[in-house]
Amino acid sequence: MSRELSRRNMLAAMGLAGAAAMSLPVLSACGVGGKTNAPNGADQVAGGFDWKKASGATINILQTPHPYQKSYQPLLKEFTELTGITVNVDLVPEADYFTKLNTELAGGSGKHDAFMLGAYFIWQYGPAGWIENLDPWLKNSSATGPDYNFEDIFEGLRTSTRWDFSTGNPLGTGGQWAIPWGFENNVVAYNKTYFDQRGIKKLPDRFDDFIQLAVDLTDRSQNRYGIATRGSKSWATIHPGFMTQYVREGAVDYNFNGSELVAEMDSDKAIDFTKKWIEMQHKAGPTSWTSYEYPNATGDLGDGKAMMVYDADSATYPKNKPGASAQAGNLGWYAGPAGPDGNYKTNLWTWSWAMSANSRNKLPAWLFIQWATGKDSLTKAVEGGTYADPVRKSVFDTTFKRVAADQFGYLEAFETVIGSSKIQFTPQKKFFDTTQNWAVALQDIYGGADAASRLRSLAKTNTSKVNL
């Protein structure tokens, strides 16, 4: 038998090899994943505290365009003057921000020394060893100035960025993984001018009345609809208005039975609320709700298309500033509908500063974080006019209350919810997977799936995932 390779077979083999090569990148794309055992850098800092301690250094920071970031941008030169440290800023839009951060941290390059971080991310980045525990930095008087006063930051925010990563343990335990910088209460912003025109004086304090109002405000022929909320296929769809009203209605995400977490998205209260939420989207929400993210929702409020938004107060606040939107000056705020027992439980989000465990510039990065979350810079940022909800009580009670005094209902809404505002999610290491699953379930129900059976399936899946 001839062993000679014919030209045809050769071509076929080459074609096959080419096809295999074409398909190889499919798999190689997944070759990611880094880990770190970098030691904490706080012990390296000794001597008296001095802002000039790292003079001449350069740090890279990663941010997403946000009113907080915009308020601080002009202040960065003051930091350089104070410390002699140069700051390079990289900006990534929010839709891609955490994807970028995930891949960078997984790669372990430590390219960005400090970055903006939401509290939920600590639950996944912490166990991976990607972020520095800032507790030793706070406790080291050589690294932290005597005037810093960490306790001035609202307690709920300090605990929201602290966890020991043990399933079932509450927030507030373990290391301090980030320092809160700004935060958001999820309340309702509305078009006050239009409400006044319609003679709507009393804002609904029950969820059923709220839905009815949203429906009444909707007129598709006028391109006007009642309520804008997030609806995209993302964990971010769950955490603002949805989670806030979900807990006000008495539902919870998980229960800890002593050994494992049990998902409760299929409880009677959860099913009942979810049905109403989805019904509200159909009757009074944006027509492309399943792709809606916060810029869409707040943009529609600013353009006069959405009459109400149930989302972060600090995201709607800038829309009311002169020149910021078509409806600037026309907006008002209120806490949103209370729960059946009159509670105003509210889910909060905090933008914080975290440090990469792989940073090669830990002292300058810490000096930056300390400056950014310090009283002086925060006061100046608030004076700028678009920085809402500063994390320090001293700044909130003085400067912010003065600056926001002319924003109708803003401070009242804040005072109404602040006592019950905290992270309402149960901390767990599969947060993004399970919470995105929750958003997918909402989209499926929006698309016609039966709410009860879909939520039962979600709860079953999530229970198995969170306890892995």
Partner: protein, 318 residues
């Protein structure tokens, strides 16, 4: 040849002075033996460059490696059991299959039709030929952004032009898959058209002239002459598009991120979600390994079909 040469050269051959042949320098044996290995280094580097991440990805599929579990250990086939037992995976297989088959079929039919039209030499044809490649010059991510704006029910141009009002949602659960197929068709039909057009222009003219003389009509000539000869070119386009469509990610992710729900969640998007969003590298790698197996088997089958078609076009096989 030898005879002829001797005839031309005549009687006495003229003495031609040739320069003394320079002796080649002696190459040491070790260098001669080493040369083939040195020559194979570039190929070796490429093979390693491709295979290393592939093998690493395959290796991850057998671990329980995730960001929250940075010290993984072997779990053998647990990831495969978990993924294959997950309804969402099979939904992704379904979405990927529908997308790949539908998009490839539509692009092929439209591409062949466009190529036939463009083959008729005219000013408009030449103009279209140039305009046609514009979508191919746009990155699929950018195309996704452009189409997302056009799909917007409130201010998008499509609802306005088609008179669909402000409530028809192109990216809803029922319409999203159709819409992403439409976008893929817009981007890649020109690719098929250009490939097939090149094939048409390379066909011999004689068989067509002969059948025209015999009174054959256009459709008969297309069916009996052009299509069999064109088949290998069409198949090449089909192979490229089908492989690419099985691995589709970019414009779908921009348009829907795999939603609403799981309506447009392809296998690639599933792998991305698990690896990059949920930071579960092993589960993401399992998705990718399964996709690779699907792509490899399909590629092997399509290449064999292409081989048969080439042989048939060359008249080697009936």
């Amino acid at each position: 040849m030898t005879t002829q040469t001797s005839k031309v050269s005549g009687s006495a051959p003229e003495k031609v002075e040739t320069a003394p042949r320079r002796a080649l320098p002696e190459i040491p044996i070790w260098r001669r033996k080493l040369r083939p290995y040195l020559l194979s280094i570039p190929a070796l580097v490429i093979v390693i460059g491709i295979l290393y991440p592939f093998v690493l990805g395959a290796y991850y599929a057998f671990l329980n490696y995730a960001a929250v579990n940075p010290s993984p250990h072997f779990v053998w086939f647990d990831n495969f059991k978990s993924v294959l037992g997950d309804q969402v995976f099979w939904q992704s297989v379904k979405v990927t299959s529908i997308f790949a088959v539908s998009a490839t079929a539509i692009e092929t039919v439209l591409g062949v039709g466009l190529a036939l039209l463009l083959n008729r030499s005219s000013t408009i044809g030449r103009l279209f030929e140039k305009v046609l490649i514009v979508p191919l010059m746009i990155a699929p991510v950018i195309a996704g952004v452009i189409w997302k704006l056009m799909f917007n029910p409130q201010f998008g141009i499509l609802n306005h032009v088609l008179g669909l009002g402000s409530t028809f949602d192109w990216l809803s659960g029922n319409t999203a898959l159709m819409s992403v197929i439409l976008v893929d068709t817009w981007i890649f039909t020109p690719f098929v058209a250009i490939l097939v057009l090149a094939g048409i222009r390379s066909l011999p003219k004689e068989p067509f002239e002969a059948s025209e003389v015999d009174g054959a009509n256009w459709f008969y000539m297309f069916r009996k002459l052009m299509l069999p000869m064109l088949w290998p070119y069409i198949l090449v386009a089909v192979i490229f598009r089908f492989m690419d469509n099985l691995k589709v990610f970019d414009h779908i992710y921009v348009l829907t991120a795999g939603g609403p729900g799981v309506a447009t969640r392809t296998l690639q998007i599933g792998a991305f979600e698990d690896s990059i969003i949920n930071l579960d590298y092993s589960r993401g790698s399992t998705y990718m390994l399964l996709l690779w197996i699907i792509v490899f088997i399909t590629a092997r089958y399509l290449v064999s079909v292409l081989g048969k078609a080439q042989r048939r076009a060359a008249g080697a096989e009936s």
